[in-house]
Amino acid sequence: MFKNYLTVSVRNILRHADESIFDVFTFRLIRGDPKSALKTASDVVITENIAKKYFGNEDPIGKIIKFENKYPLTVSGVMANGPLNSHFTVNFLASFKVLIELDPDEYKRKMENWTRGVDNYTYLLLQKNCDVEELEKKFPVLIETHAGNILKILGGKMVFFLQPLRSIHLHSRLKAEIAENGDIVYVYAYTAVALFIIFIACVNFVNLSTARAAGRTKEVGIRKVLGAQRGELICQFLEESLLLSIISLMIALGLVELTLPLFSSLSGSPLNLHFVSAYRLFGGLLGLLFFVAILAGSYPAFFLSAFPPACVLSGRFNTGSSDIRFRNILVVLQFTISIALIAGTGIIFNQIKYMQHKKLGFDKEQVLVLRVIDDSILKSFSSIKDELKSHTGITNVALSSHVPGQSPSFIVFIPEGFNFDQSQLMDRISIDSDFIPTMGIEIIAGRNFSSEFASGNSQAILINETAARQFGWKNPIGKTIDQPVPDTDQKVTKTVVGVVQDFHSESLHKRIRPLYIEYETANFRYISLKLKPQIISDTLAFLRKKWKQIDPAQAFDYFFLDEAFGRQYKADEKLAQIFSSFTLLAIFIACLGLFGLASFTAEKRTKEIAIRKALGASVSQIILLLSKEFTRWVLVANFIAWPLAYLVMNKWLQNFAYRINLGLGTFVLSALLALLIALLTVGFQAIRAARANPVDALRYE
């Protein structure tokens, strides 16, 4: 342990920037001077939280922090904690100069050859009236100046384009984003579902208002007799609708405030009402309020106010079959949305289940992974490996540059039989001879890397089935693949000694790509240990102790492969949870409406039911009579819901390279579920009406 240093891992989010970062971003320094805080290579600015965590009440300025035992930095400033909705988060902000000092030759190579990889994120603070398109037109000249020659040699193309900062989080889907991005598609999806729910609620309001119309016709007739104009009545009904909407909005805001923490944990996004500026929120809500009030209140207002007073008062008015048809259309619409949501939720859950259970081509269970920070420990690792393997709880130990679940490097290669112009992009990983058996990957042709003749491994490679297929190789063993050496005319040629069965190194969103597997010890970054399931806790205790001997400076920071791999589906699982919550809510609201309608219908038909019973109808016949009126419309709703759900979900499934087939089963189940829900909802009213005493009902008149 180092008494004068604070040692932290780079997982604490260390970023490097040049001095102009404080001119471009609005990081607020509460200690230190933004003009000089990152002046030297040894400067680091920390956040308030970090200062409190590591230094408590002490002044952190001047304190030294050592990152991963590599380089010490001196705290030169403290910045205010950033808001949750920042473009990127940073705990430690060091100067760019330290990277230059650590490896000046590599830095020089990267500056001279832009094709050696892009490690930086460049932000431009533009003038207010800057024409972005005109600026972008200048980039090709810049590229030609700095990388034109090398691009000609490689036959490649480089494009720079500008992205507005605010649109990156939800709209950018580039490789190696600075932070994990959201997806605007989910925002649209949730918005669409929310609008559907409001629509269903408005439909309920319209339906129930028109159903109650019979009871209010008398009131309308009387008001007209007393001198009310149609316009006054329309205003009255719209005002009623507006008042109901205002009360609903108040209750809704209260509910949002109460349930937002729950929704935040469900969605995995730290949501907060204060994200939206007050005037935008207020304006939006006001607009929504009037929209809902007018939309929901219009039909009853215009419909009820049109009743002619004479007809109403003399009992000649009948709400008519067109009114009933309209209500039935609304029921169909409500249940179309509900059935589509049920089907959508079912498909999402099925796809997730498929992804969780699909054979990945490797065995991720009971694999513990440790990250190698200090690669000097790998020099004598073979003896450590033997020691680890000797423990009863550990069946195998492997080294690799990547583990499944991480994006491999993506490199240009020239397989045998291809020209330079036909070079192929392949994923590249480095593994030792224990990796294949540790991960349970199958070799379908040739052999694995040799553990006995390790020196021969440097010229050997393995490829996967996809690579063999893509190159058109029926017998890949013995074929060579060249890797061009950057900045030179040279190449590294290696020979295929084995072909592995395809395995998913990334999530099932992505298709398996050609894979180049080499044995390069310098690239090893991970230690994977296959554990026996029965004694994991004992094994962990052993490993924790052992790790202190292997790398004393580094904390025993491990993860289990299955959990890490599963995290790739976090967004999809969140989508499933939220979707199912919304679906339940939509169904609940639709059922409320159906319940109310059934109640009014039963009340309206009380005399008819009594007469039918007096004439000999049984309770079950009455229940059937009342139920079928609604349930047939629910069945009709399926004809609209199924194609709608199919189109939308088929589009969503295109996001997955490996996906389920959309069969009839899910749709049929959704239909049956919706029918069951409708029957249960309507059935209660139907049974009550059917069991009523006919005498009471006849006396009602």
């Binding site: 009387i222 007799v225 007393l226 001198g227 009310a228 002619p308 004479a310 003399s314």
Partner: protein, 239 residues
């Protein structure tokens, strides 16, 4: 006050055409109390609806205060109705969601009478018709007689020129019916024109004039025999 010339009203449905009124000529002077009698379906209520401009005739003319209004739109008719015509119905037709006070106040709201004035006039009505103790009750909380008194109060609060009463005592027992008739008579004595439809010869006697309707016609002397024959018991007709 009101005058009709060859007033005709035909109701047409998909399969049926019913002539409710057929060339009816009636004149009601200011301050008169006219009763309209006739069997069910003879067109009494239809006549009253047209007189109250709740409906338009199919043919003929209808004059209200010397203005021919038979082809007026509903909007114009509503404008004329306000403040000029008060209605009293057999089934009271109070608004169940409003209190007694609010029901009586309603016509004044549509006339845009000021708040203070409304309060004064409504309270006067409540006192006059002995409804003050019930002013905050809802219609379903008061008796039939009281409900009809509320309806009369509502009809009268705007000081209309004419009151049209459609079987005002039809749903009341005799004592309550007498009560309501007394109110109507008092109003008439104070100058309000009243046209009342009734089945009761006893209540019709309160009126200055009785018009008999039968099958949409006003029964004149040459139709009176047919009317009398219709009203005789079947046993007498058979013989």
């Amino acid at each position: 006050m009101i005058r009709t010339r060859n007033l005709t009203k035909v109701f047409t449905t998909e399969e049926l055409e019913t002539t409710a009124l057929n060339n009816v000529n009636v004149e009601v002077q200011d301050g008169e109390f006219v009763a309209i009698m006739g069997p069910s379906g003879c067109g009494k209520s239809t006549f009253l609806h047209i007189a109250g401009m709740l409906d338009n005739p199919s043919d003929g003319e209808f004059f209200f205060m010397d203005e021919e209004v038979s082809r007026y739109s509903e909007k114009k008719r509503a404008g004329l109705r306000k403040g000029n015509i008060g209605f009293v119905f057999q089934s009271f037709n109070l608004i169940d969601e409003l209190t007694v006070y609010e029901n009586i106040e309603l016509p004044l709201l549509y006339l845009k009478v000021s708040s203070g004035d409304r309060k004064k006039r409504v309270n006067e009505m409540l006192e006059q018709l002995e409804l003050m103790p019930r002013k905050n009750h809802f219609p379903q909380q008061i008796s039939g007689g009281q409900q009809q008194r509320v309806a009369v109060a509502r009809a009268v609060v705007a000081n209309p020129k004419i009151i049209l009463a459609d079987e005002p005592t039809g749903n009341l027992d005799s004592s309550h019916g007498d009560e309501v008739m007394k109110i109507l008579v008092d109003l008439n004595e104070n100058g309000t024109t009243i046209v009342m439809v009734t089945h009761s010869p006893a209540y019709a006697d309160y009126a200055n004039r009785v018009i008999h309707l039968f099958d949409g016609h006003i029964v004149t002397e040459n139709l009176k025999e047919k009317y009398d024959r219709h009203m005789r018991p079947l046993s007498e007709v058979a013989s």
